[in-house]
């Protein structure tokens, strides 16, 4: 391959505010988020911020145990609590901590909580299962297909890899505030699907779709858990608002958010795989189990990922139930847990083969991934990597690598561009910005298509009355809406130029717009404002146009460098290089931010996150942000996002792929440092010490 440009080879201590490697990679390198100031100053109103006058406040009555039969509750005392408006208790047997058996609606949050206390439900606990290993205790024998796949293998590997339940931990919890005014309503939601939430609310509100508007201008995180309609929190608020013709508010608290708003299912992967001595794959069997709590499914793990040639693999999967809340889509569902198993498995195979794990990946990966691995190896300093387990110092350094991939989406959604006579432009689509930069991206593509500076463009998203856009799932929001918005903006520009041509008695193709100046035959003709001043009163409204689809996958690779304190088992993350393609980058800063965010979430999954259910009662013991641990500032490495934009066209996915390989690459780096694999996430000191102890006297 061609060597990278000098500019790409930036030192790792480069301030993150200045990433020359990514300069010129995007449509707009310098734009900051259009909503940066409202978000930083607090003037941005999230759904959870809408405390409306005279609002009802609703709390769910929830089971405090993993499994329990409802015995009794003091409904009279709860109803007698001042401020209680309505209560519903459906006593029943529950099968997970946080399961709702009804609700209390009251005039204030405090009244609702007091009533909940007065209700004092009594439960009789029943036996629980809390994890996959309560059901899957042994490794089943390999099947005939898997055995046949391994024929001819010269080196074989068999191991079990496990990951815990990870919660989405959205800062803004699930819920909504409903302003019901009798014959119409406004719904303030926190959703990843402005349209799909709207679709589910007509019934509960008792209103036709035209009689209410769903507003979701800002979302404090969703990561997949806020897809699929309004959810029970908002639905209940809508029903009660409709019944009492007054505002209603229901948002989960932090505990409820951990317990009952979905999660990334736990996983167990039993890999049996064979290779030739030169690293050529032979094949085998990979068996996975997904820990889906009380849900019947949704625990699939994407291994083999297809990013590496592994030979003929027989894949088997079972979902396993236990007494925990069910999963929901979570940023690259099925992928990070699978990549953890796949990447660490590859490093373990490489160790058995006596190969550098990157060399093995170069043998197994496809062309673009190979180029990315070469570039990333230089950026992380892979040549400084020491062989597995060869260090004796207290602090040992490890390097690991992993790969990501994601499919693309075609253009879709509806958009509208309005050019006003004063030169201002409104860019409208009914999507939502779940933190990705969608608002900013829509502004940038509109400005770019029109040939004007971003300052003229005002973006309207997050309202169900706007032209409908897609839900934010599968990393499709930008690949879907950006081509459409681009096409619609171009249509608006065409209308404008045709009008100017007509007025000047000229041909439209004599006119063009660049940097906010209208050119005629390449010469300055009018400023943007002057040109818009020639529009009729209502300006221009365009809403038709067909966008172009981006090609291919959003591939990526990541490298992790870390130090392990072998006396304490504590891992100190040092440096992460994240190379990611996503087609034509729209906004450098928000794209970098997406990658950094994905890496942080992956590192947090690698080192800390674990929804821990008490093995005897099934109660989640860490349903908070104290003991449900998330990567903090003190643990943050230098993260270096690289926008791989050469040879890329079209708008492709970016949201999910950057979180796929991180935990796997981290586990590989740990393996490299200490010479022993830790096959169970999170990589906590107790496990690192146990691995080191197992390595003493044994072959690494």
């Amino acid at each position: 391959m061609k060597p990278l440009d000098e500019a790409t080879l930036i030192p790792s201590h480069m301030p993150t505010t200045n990433r020359p490697s990514n300069m010129g990679a995007s449509v707009n390198d310098n734009a900051s988020r259009l909503d940066a100031v409202p978000k930083v100053t607090g003037s941005a109103k999230y759904g959870k911020d809408y405390h409306l006058p005279n609002s009802l406040y609703i709390v769910f009555i929830r089971c405090p145990w993993g499994a329990a039969d409802f015995v009794s509750a003091d409904e009279a005392a709860a109803k007698a609590t001042p401020g209680v408006v309505e209560m519903q208790v459906r006593g029943k047997s529950c099968t997970y901590h946080g399961q709702s058996i009804g609700y209390i609606a009251a005039d204030s949050p405090r009244a609702a909580k007091r009533a909940l206390r007065a209700l004092a439900p009594k439960w009789k606990r029943t036996p629980v299962k809390t994890q996959i290993s309560d059901t899957v205790k042994d490794n089943p024998d390999i099947g005939d297909d898997g055995q046949n796949n391994m024929n001819g293998a010269e080196v074989t590997h068999e191991a079990v890899y496990t990951t815990p339940v990870q919660t989405h931990s959205s800062l803004e919890t699930h819920g909504g505030a409903v302003d019901h005014r009798g014959d119409r309503a406004t719904v303030y939601a926190s959703t990843q699907g402005t349209s799909s939430s709207r679709d589910g609310l007509g019934g509960p509100l008792g209103l036709g779709q035209g009689d209410f508007e769903l507003v979701c201008e800002y979302v404090g995180g969703g990561f997949g858990s806020k897809l699929g309609g309004p959810g029970k929190e908002l639905t209940t608020a809508a029903q009660l608002a409709a019944k009492y013709k007054r505002p209603a508010y229901m948002f989960c608290n932090r505990s409820e958010e951990h317990l009952d708003t979905g999660n990334r299912p736990s996983s167990r992967t039993l890999a049996r795989i064979g290779f030739k001595k030169d690293g050529s794959p032979v094949g085998g069997e990979i068996r996975t189990w997904g820990g889906t709590g009380v849900a019947g499914g949704g625990g699939g793990a994407s291994i083999p990922s297809g990013r590496y040639k592994l030979g003929e693999i027989k894949k088997l999967h079972d979902d396993v139930s236990f007494n925990g809340g069910g999963p929901r889509a979570f940023r690259a569902p099925g992928h990070p847990q699978a990549a953890f198993a796949e990447e660490l498995m590859l490093d373990e195979v490489a160790a058995k083969l006596g190969m550098d794990p990157l060399a093995l990946r170069m043998k197994l990966a496809g062309g673009e991934h190979r180029k990315m691995f070469e570039a990333g190896a230089k950026l992380i300093g892979w040549s400084n990597r020491k062989p597995n387990g060869s260090q004796n110092s207290a602090l040992r350094t490890g390097y690991g690598a992993g790969a990501a991939g994601w499919g693309s989406a075609g253009p879709g959604g509806a958009a509208e561009v309005v050019i006003a006579r004063d030169g201002s432009v409104e860019s409208r689509t009914g999507t939502q910005d779940i933190g990705t930069g969608q608002r900013t991206g829509m502004g940038i593509v509109t400005a770019d298509a029109l040939g004007i500076p971003l300052k003229y463009v005002s973006v309207k998203i997050g309202r169900s009355t706007l032209p409908p856009g897609p839900g934010s799932g599968g990393s499709v929001t930008t690949p879907t809406t950006a081509p459409t918005m681009t096409a619609v903006a171009k249509a608006a520009k065409t209308q404008l130029l045709e009008l100017l041509a007509t007025q000047a008695n000229a041909k439209p193709d004599e006119f063009s717009i660049k940097d906010g100046v209208v050119l005629r035959n390449g010469e300055k003709y009018l400023t943007w404002e002057e040109a818009c001043g020639k529009l009729p009163n209502d300006g221009i409204t365009a809403n038709k146009g067909k966008g172009e689809r981006g090609d291919g996958h959003s591939n990526g690779v990541q490298f992790v460098k870390l130090d392990v304190d072998t006396e304490t088992g504590v891992i100190h993350l040092r440096h992460v290089v994240a190379i990611q393609s996503c087609g034509r980058v729209i906004c450098r800063k928000t794209a970098e931010s997406q990658i950094i965010g994905g890496v942080i979430q992956g590192l947090s999954f690698a080192l800390f996150e674990n929804k821990l259910l008490d093995r005897n009662t099934g109660a989640m013991v860490n349903d908070n942000f104290e003991s449900y641990k998330i990567l903090g500032p003190g643990d943050m490495p230098h993260i270096e996002p690289v926008l791989w934009s050469k040879g890329q066209s079209g708008f492709k996915a970016l949201g999910e792929p950057p979180t796929i390989p991180t935990a796997g690459a981290t586990a590989c780096a740990l393996f490299n440092a200490i010479g022993r694999p830790v096959r169970d996430l999170p990589l906590t000191p107790d496990k690192v010490l146990a691995a080191l102890a197992a390595g003493q006297g044994g072959a690494a």
Binding site: R114, F608, D614, A619, G634, D635, T684, A690
Partner: protein
């Protein structure tokens, strides 16, 4: 949250008087309020009065931290951040500043107080969850024994297996700390007598009687002192184990040592065997130092999931010793 009266005394004596008022059945002190508010939110306490001592000083216009006759004097309401930044502490008893300087988060350190740190309740997740009627709440079961005990005690023998959450308490232990109180006949209490194990009463961790209020804390100078905590997360996390050490040195040789561990027992846990073993050891003799510190785990009775703490404790003790002696640890660059 139940309604409660909010009392704003002007002096500690007034605070003690408020606690003794007959009209309150369960008055509570509130300084920084970190732990009190946690308890209120979880429904673990229903006080009918909060007595706010946050802005009180035992001496009018007194500095939060001062030198007094060669000793360190710390106001009960001095914040953790003030202790960590104090030049007096850095010079006379650095272990105090180190112990609170990386605890919790900057926000917590800016509001959490010295006495609040000493008297905060344990972080045991069974204690902190209302639905568990554990021993500490008057129930009949310690749920940690057969449950999730990764962060629980390896010393102390139960029947309640909390670890004492204070970082400052073990640090004061190695400096002969004394808490000064109003509201009763006794005027002061050595820190070594402030806490009691679950065998002396499960529902509280300290011996203060209702109505007693800590006004300030004093301790001996311990210029050769250090602290080391091993934490999973490097920001906003509780130690897995922590060690406070104070040394008297002849050159590099340890003449005497005081060693107290945190996060391993229901009370700050003295390690007299380590103190004995450290005598005569040169802090620059790595092998000898390791041998001496390795006895730190002697007598530990780990639970099902926390044997790793037994391995961590000697490391924390050794690193705290090196820090106390002004040496670098093996992982310092």
């Amino acid at each position: 949250m139940n309604p409660f009266a909010y009392v704003q005394p002007r002096t500690f004596d007034e605070a003690a008087a408020a606690l003794a008022e007959k009209r309150f059945s369960l008055p509570m002190l509130k300084a920084g309020g970190m732990d009190v508010v946690d308890h209120l939110k979880e429904g673990l306490i229903q006080p009918d009065a909060l007595v706010n001592i946050k802005r009180l000083r035992s001496q009018p216009d007194g500095a939060p931290i001062a030198e007094a006759g060669g000793k360190v004097r710390i106001e009960a309401t001095a914040t953790m951040a003030e202790i960590a930044a104090s030049d007096v502490v850095k010079r006379l008893a650095p272990v105090l500043g180190l112990s609170v300087g990386t605890a919790a988060s900057p926000q917590v350190r800016n509001i959490g107080t010295a006495a609040g740190n000493l008297l905060q309740r344990p972080r045991c997740w069974y204690y902190r969850h209302e639905q568990f009627d554990c021993l500490k709440k008057g129930g009949s079961t310690c749920y940690s024994i057969e449950g999730e005990n990764k962060f629980h005690a390896i010393f102390g023998g139960g029947p309640c297996h909390i670890v004492h959450p204070s970082n400052l308490a073990p640090a004061l232990m190695v400096c002969n700390g004394v808490v000064h109180i109003v509201g009763s006949d006794r005027k002061s209490l050595p820190i070594a007598q402030l806490f009691h194990g679950p065998d002396q009463g499960i529902r509280s961790e300290h011996v203060l009687k209702p109505g007693e209020v800590i006004t300030h804390i004093t301790c001996d100078a311990a210029p050769r002192s250090g602290f080391y905590a091993i934490k999973e997360k490097q920001s906003f996390d509780w130690p897995l184990v922590a060690a406070s050490v104070s040394l008297e040195l002849d050159g590099a040789k340890i003449r005497s040592a005081r060693v107290c561990a945190g996060a391993v027992a229901p009370i700050p846990w003295d390690l007299p065997k380590v103190e004995e073993a450290l005598k005569g050891v040169s802090v620059d003799d790595d092998a000898a130092l390791r041998r001496a510190c390795d006895v730190a785990g002697d007598g530990a009775k780990p639970m099902t999931d926390n044997a790793y703490k037994v391995r961590l404790l000697p490391v924390a003790v050794r690193r705290a010793t090196l820090i106390a002696a002004g040496r670098k640890t093996e992982v310092d660059a």
